[in-house]
């Protein structure tokens, strides 16, 4: 998380805002969002008919808007919202709307560090992406699967580039879709184009495509792989080699292909959400080895522990040696780390977070309507009315815990030595 080392890691407890105290000032207060550094808490508030504001730490943004939705902090703690004035929409960052206004705006996106902010827009019935207040020059009839490159400012989407009328099924099947990269469409047209992946430098874009109603593959910079499949899922691009890696379906089973060739010997009933370890040496994915069972596989070898309901939110440790995810069986969630599930079960669990030294795993969880933070399976701090995902300090010795307790928002730094 950017700038983490400059955050306040010393003050044990800060009562940031008494949310209950400001409640009476507004018709209603919407769900709160805490900034990544925990120093701020913000909500959309209603002031009057067609008059909305954003309340940050008890104070209102200077500007109000006719409508506000999708309040979100960027990773670098800037507060964004989708705002409307006089029937025009824009993105407001820390209270100030961008110069560009559109007929509609949605789907705010951030690059990994938060430096780049983007969103989808519609202007007079045409579609594009606006990045840092700069809209695409070319607009399209329709747009889906918007994507911002990890470090920005490159953006892409699946766009419609040919006309077909209602019921013109054969024309549709000739291919009317492609990827637009920064607003420039690829030359190749496909029957369908779906989710993209960017290489870290933005030079390679790969996307799921359907060549005809039955033939799927991955297209890389507009060129489909030589091999085709019965189905594919979203690719990822290896950060060092630039190779494109995607789950593919062959003869009713799923595996992993790299640049078109299957690289895992194992076959599964499902494979998706593949991820590459930070050092680039391991490839993991969520897999279903037998019907109705879910686990993680690393380089094709799957774990013993399996979940009946689902598995999600997989993440590698920073040193690439460990792997964690959220698993669910019989309606109860837990965290699994390196094939070992925690003993405790929860009604909900959020994506696990590794400490920078990779030794500890923490997660936000919920049980019986109360939220709390768990480290290595052990609850720290008390049950709260709300909580945010925890953040470890850069030296891995402390953890930032953001909670709402009895209507008050607190930011706490808890030392791991206190927990043990």
């Amino acid at each position: 998380m950017p700038g983490r080392k400059n955050w306040d890691w010393e003050t044990g407890e800060k009562l940031v805002t008494d949310i209950n105290g400001v409640k009476g000032s507004y018709n209603w207060i919407e769900e709160p969002y805490a900034s990544p550094d925990g120093e701020k808490i913000a909500s959309i508030v209603n002031l009057d008919v067609d008059k909305f504001g954003v309340c940050v730490n008890g104070g209102l943004w200077e500007n109000t808007f006719d409508k506000i939705w999708h309040l979100r902090y960027s990773p670098d703690s800037r507060l964004t919202a989708i705002v409307s004035e006089m029937e025009e929409w824009s993105i407001a960052v820390d209270g100030n709307a961008w110069d560009n206004k559109f007929s509609y705006v949605w789907n705010t996106m951030f690059s990994d560090g938060g430096l780049n902010i983007a969103a989808a827009f519609q202007q007079d019935g045409e579609y594009g992406i606006v990045v840092n207040d700069v809209p695409w020059e070319n607009l399209f009839k329709n747009m889906n699967c918007m994507c911002l490159s990890p470090y920005g400012p490159y953006s892409s989407a699946a766009v419609q580039v040919a006309d077909f009328g209602e019921g013109e099924i054969f024309k549709f099947q000739e291919g009317a879709y492609t990827i637009a990269l920064n607003g420039i469409p690829w030359d190749t047209r496909f029957v369908n184009v779906w989710n993209c992946a960017f290489s870290s430098d933005g030079a390679i874009v790969a996307a799921e495509v359907r060549l005809d109603l039955y033939t799927y593959t991955i297209a890389v910079n507009g060129v489909p792989w030589n091999n085709t499949f019965a189905c594919v899922w979203q690719p990822v691009i290896h950060p060092m080699s630039g190779k494109v890696i995607a789950p593919v379906r062959v003869s009713g089973k799923w595996s992993i292909a790299e640049d078109g060739d299957i690289i895992w010997d194992s076959r599964f009933l499902q494979v998706w959400q593949q991820l590459i370890s930070p050092d680039g040496n391991k490839l993991a994915a969520i897999v279903s080895p037998t019907y109705g069972k879910w686990t993680l596989a690393v380089d094709g070898a799957w774990w013993n522990t399996q979940f009946g309901d689902m598995l999600t939110d997989a993440v590698f440790s920073p040193d690439s040696s460990r792997l964690a995810a959220v698993g669910k069986t019989d309606g109860k969630f837990t965290i699994i780390v390196d094939d070992s599930p925690w003993d405790s079960k929860f009604d909900m669990a959020w994506k696990p977070v590794f400490s920078p030294d990779s030794r500890n795993v923490a997660a936000k969880v919920e049980k019986d309507g109360k939220y709390f933070i768990v480290i290595n399976g052990k609850q720290i701090h008390k049950n709260c009315d709300d909580a945010w995902e925890p953040v470890f300090s850069p030296d891995s010795q402390k953890i930032l815990v953001k909670t709402i307790e009895d209507g008050k928002y607190y930011r706490r730094i808890i030392s791991l030595s206190e927990i043990k």
């Binding site: 999708h70 009933l269 689902m310």
Partner: protein, 442 residues
């Protein structure tokens, strides 16, 4: 009756079927059939087809057979004989014309309603067999134009009505604004992570019946439900790809729905009054993806209303006065056993509930389900004429209002009511519930 048969026997023109079949070659047909039968079906299909003794016990279960003057070609076994029976007998060496006609049978003469399986002494599931026929026809590119267009819409937008992403969100915000005139602090919370409930609908709601979203917003706010709706694809639970036989697109759109729910960290997905969508998220689509059960529980509107009324979260101001009857939708009754809960809800909100006969899991299908209504205008006449038994069944109740807690049933029944001049109006449960419930400020 004779005239009915004569008219339905006229060849129906459908570009999807006709042009699709024109492109076929015998070798291609044989190859695709072989691939589907060998790779995608197991012992089940063969056992079904081999076991059928043509006893005809299932025939009277089928509303189409009954409505078509008991013409054996419309009996469940008759439809299998005209499609899969021939395919197996000829080892896949069938003509393009045969495929075209088999597609018409599979897509428009069977609702996959599974009523017949209940009467077969061997439990032969004709719907399953005809679904395999549909899969073959999809693979051969011979599908009715309207439903194929819908499957294309699903593939691009993840919804069935070509609704663009901004149009969806804008509709929700417009409904929210309208509903605030009635309930000033009402919200339709978009993208609220950690809500208990994600509410999902089928695309005809934002497109043609946004009032249903409005009513639900009033219901959710009155009952104090911590809910959300996604502002991303995955909001539409409907699935015509399941009915064209495009399993890959079916899987993709179901994944979009469950991914949206998982991302929003909700405990359950509550869905509006739709039957086929329930089948898709609860039974077929989830299983194609490898989930034995939905990874995030799916609660159909009937069950949701039941829970709210039972828990006293919604109270009834005054029961609905007009006489009502209930059409049990196949997919949530035979498919999920929600019939008693539906009756509890209706008795709680209506004064005068009249059963139709047969009812519950024995109810006749509306003849719209299974994607049949989605095959569009070319087949509309045939569809309504093939369900005179339904017209009689509802007319016999004498009720003023027909409750159909399913979108396809709802539209199908409106066609039947109008064609057969039945003096009745259709309503969803939420139409009545909204009208009779206590609201804040009452």
């Amino acid at each position: 009756m004779a005239e009915v048969i004569e008219k339905t026997e006229q060849r129906i023109v459908d570009e999807g079927l006709d042009k699709g079949a024109d492109k076929l070659t015998g070798d291609q047909i044989a190859r695709v059939i072989k691939a589907v039968l060998e790779n995608e079906t197991g012992a089940r299909l063969k056992v079904y087809v081999d076991t059928c003794v043509h006893c005809g016990l299932c025939s009277d279960a089928c509303h189409i057979y009954l409505s078509q003057n008991r013409n054996p070609k419309f009996s469940p076994a008759g439809k299998v004989k005209r499609t899969m029976g021939e395919i197996l007998k000829k080892k896949g060496r069938v003509s393009p014309e045969f495929i075209r006609d088999a597609a018409e049978v599979a897509y428009t003469e069977c609702n996959l309603c599974k009523r017949c399986v209940q009467y077969c002494p061997f439990g032969i599931d004709v719907a399953y067999i005809l679904l395999i026929v549909r899969r073959i026809c999809h693979k051969l590119g011979v599908t009715p134009l309207y439903i194929q267009d819908t499957a294309h819409s699903h593939s691009v937008t993840m919804n069935q009505m070509w609704i663009k992403e901004d149009e969806w969100i804008d509709t929700l915000q417009w409904q929210e604004e309208d509903a605030r005139e009635e309930m000033p602090n009402l919200r339709i919370p978009l993208e609220k992570e950690g809500a208990d409930v994600m509410y999902s609908v089928i695309a005809p709601e934002p497109k043609f019946q946004p009032n249903l979203i409005y009513y639900t917003a009033i219901l959710m706010n009155t009952a104090g439900i911590n809910w959300t709706m996604p502002a991303t694809p995955g909001w539409d639970n409907s699935d015509m790809a399941m009915f064209t036989g495009d399993n890959e697109i079916m899987g993709r759109i179901k994944r979009a729905q469950f991914d949206a729910a998982a991302r929003l960290k909700v405990k359950k997905i509550v869905m509006g009054e739709c039957g086929h969508a329930f089948r898709s998220v609860y039974d077929v689509g989830n299983r194609w993806l490898g989930w034995k059960m939905p990874p995030i529980p799916i609660v159909h509107a009937i069950e949701f209303y039941y829970d709210l009324l039972k828990a006293g979260k919604i109270k009834i101001r005054e029961k609905y006065k007009k006489s009502v009857t209930l059409h049990d939708p196949c997919n949530v009754v035979r498919g999920a056993g929600l019939h008693e809960k539906a009756r509890y809800v209706i008795n709680e909100i209506c004064e005068n509930f009249i059963e139709m006969h047969p009812n519950r899991e024995h109810n006749y299908c509306c003849n719209a389900g299974g994607g049949v209504i989605n095959c569009g205008p070319p087949f509309k006449n045939k569809r309504v004429k093939s369900n005179s038994v339904k017209a009689k069944q509802i007319r016999d109740t004498g009720a003023e209002i027909l409750i159909t807690p399913c979108h396809n049933c709802h539209s199908g029944m409106e066609d039947i009511i109008s064609y057969y001049n039945v003096n009745m109006h259709t309503k969803f449960i939420i139409d009545i519930l909204y009208e009779v419930m206590e609201k804040p400020g009452d």
